[in-house]
């Protein structure tokens, strides 16, 4: 018995020594890991988070000319911005654009994904074509669509050819609804992305579920209505967040298509921020617009991150 106790003690001791050794070795490597990561941590902390704080700070000073002026003026720039007509138009445009863009991406993206999920011959070809626009830049998209949507060229000629001579929309030159036209070009680019998300989601739905629905006598539409669409709700949420964030920051496409357009009809927050800051040197006003965009995005990003927490932490 005593023998056993000793040997057990030895084993315990040996194990604990080994454990301690392993632990200190582990710790030093863990420290190394943090050390190697630290330049990136600093870069993100400085270039993203401190810059955001800095932008908020600039929005509270009096720097609205070429000469930096850090006199604190509180919320003066914000008050001016919130009362500014161009800013109001930007907000209206954001609503138009977001509704048009998001609904096109999500509805078409879902429809195409659902159709491609029907064991289609040549699925890869269709998929490639529909995601294709996502590979080109916003500027290239803008150049092509600018021509397509010119009132006197492009799509309107096709309309005239099929007998719609009276239906000749002004598209993005419309002084009030120009932003809807921009959303067509934007959705052309992004629908493939949303389609890919839905397709991955559809492929993740177990076949038994559909079969069970079929056995219960549910038709195709009922299966989609009561089983597939509810199951894809997380994908729809992702699509809403991604397209929503894209709506807030749209800049390239507007720059290439029409700039701010007639009566600011295609002006956006991002375009206004760019012109105010780097065109008119109203840095504090531009900083207020930029800060406003950060706040707006946070409403989408933060809930998204909470919903993704499980996925991120595994």
């Amino acid at each position: 018995m005593a023998d056993r106790a000793v040997s057990q003690g030895e084993v315990g001791l040996a194990a604990s020594i080994k454990g301690r050794k392993r632990k200190s070795w582990w710790r030093s490597d863990m420290l190394l890991a943090v050390l190697v990561l630290s330049p990136s941590i600093i870069a993100v902390a400085v270039f993203i988070y401190s810059f955001i704080a800095w932008t908020f700070y600039i929005s509270t000073v009096k720097w609205n000319s070429q000469v930096p002026d850090y006199t604190f003026v509180g919320l003066t720039n914000w008050v001016r911005l919130l009362g500014d007509n161009r800013f109001h138009i930007d907000l209206r445009n954001l609503v138009y654009y977001a509704i048009g863009f998001m609904s096109q991406c999500i509805i078409f993206g879902f429809i195409i994904a659902a159709l491609l999920d029907q064991k289609i011959k040549g699925e890869a070809i269709f998929r490639t074509i529909i995601i294709f626009p996502f590979a080109v830049s916003g500027i290239v998209t803008g150049v092509a669509w600018r021509w397509l949507l010119q009132p006197t060229t492009g799509i309107n000629i096709l309309f005239a050819k099929i007998g719609l001579e009276s239906f000749q929309p002004l598209w993005n030159s419309h002084p009030k609804y120009g932003m809807w036209a921009v959303s067509i070009a934007a959705a052309w680019q992004m629908t493939g992305y949303v389609m890919a998300l839905y397709l991955a989601g559809l492929r993740g739905i177990p076949h038994e579920l559909r079969e069970a629905a079929a056995i219960d006598g549910a038709g195709t539409l009922a299966t989609y209505r009561y089983i597939i669409i509810p199951l894809l709700l997380p994908v729809t949420f992702t699509a809403i967040v991604l397209t929503g964030m894209n709506s807030i920051r749209v800049f390239d496409l507007v720059s290439a298509m029409s700039g701010s357009g007639p009566a600011f009809a295609t002006d956006t927050l991002a375009f206004n921020m760019f012109q105010s800051t780097f065109g008119a040197y109203r840095y504090s006003l531009g900083a207020a617009i930029g800060s406003f965009m950060i706040i707006l995005s946070a409403f989408l990003v933060i809930p998204y991150m909470f919903s993704m927490r499980g996925e991120v932490e595994r």
């Binding site: 943090v34 195409i112 294709f132 626009p133 803008g142 920051r249 780097f278 993704m308």
Partner: protein, 275 residues
């Protein structure tokens, strides 16, 4: 029953073909307009195929934007390579060395990825001016690398998470440390992940407009998309030249996409935190 099925199948294919045609229209217009001579670029012939292949538009566009095309190559290639390397080591740490607070930190990285650049542009310009990197390609490459930190870490992290820890433990017993495991175990397995990340970063940086516009003020150094926008913005340039310039700007990413579409799709899904 079979007849009805035939009808449904036919309808599905028809709708898909209609969608595919719609998504091809802008490319069709760019290509046919780019290949037309100037006198044929007019309203009556807009939708018609060119009478032959005329390269004058492409040639003039190339003469205008070729320096910028080279600028984009010199910016995109190093930036994509460096940010992929940074991403692989960061992804390794986030996946396999989960120190206390690593997950929170990772989420903070991701939040940064989603926020609009307009909220950081002014301090970015001020800082680059202060350190003497404003207006230089090195500065722009650095900025692309920094803004690529979150997405590259995300892509590599999810890839490395799939590599079993037992493999790492075995390497540890064989005497590998932090770098040894990375060098001898993970790196040799990383080729697919590098392909996805390089492709993603290449496309993103090549297609960038805003950061190039802000950081490089001189038109001589401007990347291709800024140059195309300048051409499109001036009314003196003919449409066939504009469309050709757009095609030139789009060509590298289109070629890469067609060659490596599957990888592109993977990056797309991972970039939304899914898949």
């Amino acid at each position: 029953m079979t007849l009805q099925r035939l009808w449904t199948r036919g309808a599905i294919y028809l709708v898909l073909i209609a969608f595919a045609a719609y998504y091809m229209i802008p490319f069709y217009v760019m290509i046919i307009t780019g290949l037309k001579p100037y006198q044929d670029v007019n309203v009556t012939r807009m939708w018609e195929l060119p009478r032959g292949i005329y390269l004058e538009g492409i040639i003039e566009a190339w003469q205008r934007v070729s320096p910028n095309f080279m600028n984009s190559v010199m910016i995109t290639v190093p930036a994509a390579l460096i940010s992929s390397l940074i991403g692989s080591i960061n992804g390794y740490i986030f996946a396999k060395w989960r120190f206390r607070g690593a997950d929170t930190l990772f989420i903070l990285f991701l939040v940064g990825m989603f926020l609009p650049y307009q909220g950081i542009l002014i301090p970015l310009v001020l800082t680059l001016q202060k350190v003497g990197l404003y207006g230089s390609m090195v500065g722009l490459i650095m900025v692309h690398c920094i803004f690529g930190i979150p997405i590259t870490a995300l892509l590599f992290r999810s890839y490395y998470a799939g590599i079993p820890n037992e493999l790492l433990d075995a390497a540890r017993i064989d005497g590998c440390g932090f770098f040894g495991i990375f060098r001898w175990i993970l790196l040799p397995l990383s080729l697919p992940a590098f392909a996805v990340v390089l492709l993603w970063q290449f496309t993103t940086i090549w297609n960038d407009f805003l950061i190039g516009l802000i950081v490089l003020s001189s038109p001589r150094l401007a990347p291709i998309n800024v140059a195309v926008q300048n051409i499109a913005g001036s009314f003196s340039v003919e449409w066939n030249v504009q469309m050709s310039a757009a095609l030139i700007a789009a060509a590298p990413t289109i070629i890469v996409y067609l060659a490596l579409g599957k990888l592109f799709m993977r990056g797309l899904l991972a970039g939304s935190l899914k898949g």
